[in-house]
């Protein structure tokens, strides 16, 4: 005996995300020699230790490279971002998460 199937039609609860144009990351630098590398961290503990070692290793491998350590907000403030963009050639961004 064929039993009639029950159909349950329901609506999608997800909020639509608008279409947007994807941005591309910036072109990379050729190497670190002679470059200034921004090292950004927020206030979470331990990133300063990480960057201390990072800078030591960088100095050994790329003696001409320098570091620009900046610590600030989770989302880098405009003034810090503009200063880093002006003074550094590349960056590492670590927030301790």
């Amino acid at each position: 005996m064929n039993q009639e199937k029950i159909e349950l039609r329901v609506l999608n609860p997800r909020g639509e995300i608008e279409a947007k144009v994807a941005s591309s990351p910036s072109p990379r630098i050729a190497d670190l020699s002679g470059k200034r590398i921004g090292l950004y961290s927020n206030m979470k503990q331990g990133m300063d230790n990480f960057y201390t070692v990072f800078e030591e290793i960088m100095k050994k491998k790329y003696p001409e490279a320098t570091a620009m350590k900046v610590s600030g907000a989770f989302l880098i403030r405009d003034e810090d971002a503009e200063a880093m963009a002006k003074e550094a050639d590349a960056f590492v961004y670590g927030v301790g998460d």
């Binding site: 349950l8 639509e16 990480f50 070692v53 989770f74 971002a81 960056f91």
Partner: protein, 486 residues
Amino acid sequence: MAGTVKLEKLGLPGVFMNCDTFDDDAGSAAVDNGMPAVRHHKISSAEFYKLRGSVETIRPLVEKIFDELVDAIVTPLTSEETDTSQLPPDTDGLPQLLYIGDSYEEAYENFNQSYLVKQWGDGLPMVAPTPDRIRWMLTGTKRLSQEVLGTINPKNGTATIEKIAINAVMAGARPEYFPVIISVIEALTDNKFDDLHVLASAGSFGLLIVVGGPIGKELNMNSGIGFLGHSNRANNTIGRAVRLATLNIGRTWPAKNDMALIGRLSAHTFFTFAENSDMSPWQPYHASRGFPAEQSCVTVASIHGSGPLQHFYGGMIMTWTADGILDRMVDDLLRSSRRTLREWGQKGMGVVPGSGVGANNHMVILFPELVEEYKKMGYDQTKLQDEIYRRVSVPYEDLTSEEIEAIKTGMELGVVPPERKLVFEKALHPGEKVPLLMMPENIHLFVAGGAPGCAFSFNYYRVPPYTHTAIMTRPITGATLTRAGV
């Protein structure tokens, strides 16, 4: 991730470093911030968190990944990474879905299981959002179903009245509750309200949702004994509708982009209740925010997830006095505010000075029997706020030099709001008392519960990490099924 994208957009090549626990979150945030190909490099959570305590312990990990981080900076971008074509609108599936079963129960179970697998549910069984049920929900408001309220973080999904209605149905809410739910979402979608931190941060933060004015009674909300508990449909489904709407419109999921380490206390309904207007001798809370007392409003506030409430006692076991409860309140605020006083000298976690550090908001909930006693003592809300503010202060001579320096630095950095600078300039002298709260308005007084009298509070940053405020009151409007909130 937003900071990395900001630097990349300024022309600086870089790499975002994240622990593997946050790798899904980082990838998701890259898309949310419009740069899906931004380079992020994961490191071992198990190693990083344990080893970062000192330069020597972290050294082997940095040595291990140094070249990988450099590679991310120097290896040319691929054609895929430089693709800047338009990302299509993301609807996450078809507008309607069909579930079939041999019986109604089977179809219903298929719907529930499927929605949970899609990460569209909260783990409890849901009411099926059928077109008929959505139409029923929409009868509770005059507002048009396609009206857009704004977007919800972290993925900026668009909150329309219809999408909120779908989630409200799934939560088990009734149409007469719907205007309250809409007003809560209006607060969360307001650009000034920091919904990102409360919905996504590792700190397991939560929401306090307080309904004030006559609509609470019309909806039979529990404002008396047990007001934060189970059993009341309005309290629980209003909160659950907000839970599901934020989950589905903002598109959060635990350990994916909702990184709350222990989950969220009251995870399914948040902390949702109505003020007890019948028993309170005071005006409702929203009157202190500039709304007419007779209007119906809802207040939404972020609250800390750890040690979520401080209890100042009262109750039915021990004898108590209103003075004694006030003393305990002041004592608790003195201790907790003193602990974070040195943070006033920090610029903060976000764009607004003082964001996410020091100087909290305190959402204090007082039982009506206690408020009657305060009224006899001559306190209305403003006077009690002022009294608490005045007493949560310490003699200048008792402050350490670091604490004094922190307040002074906070004044320079703008952590102390400009309009409060004069207060602290006058207080920072021998013989004066220095407030540990930024202003009396950081104490928010609500009345709920009944007899016996008691009091407790939640707290949260005065300024949240990502935007301007974490407490907002909205009027309830557009109701069609209640006398209030029209």
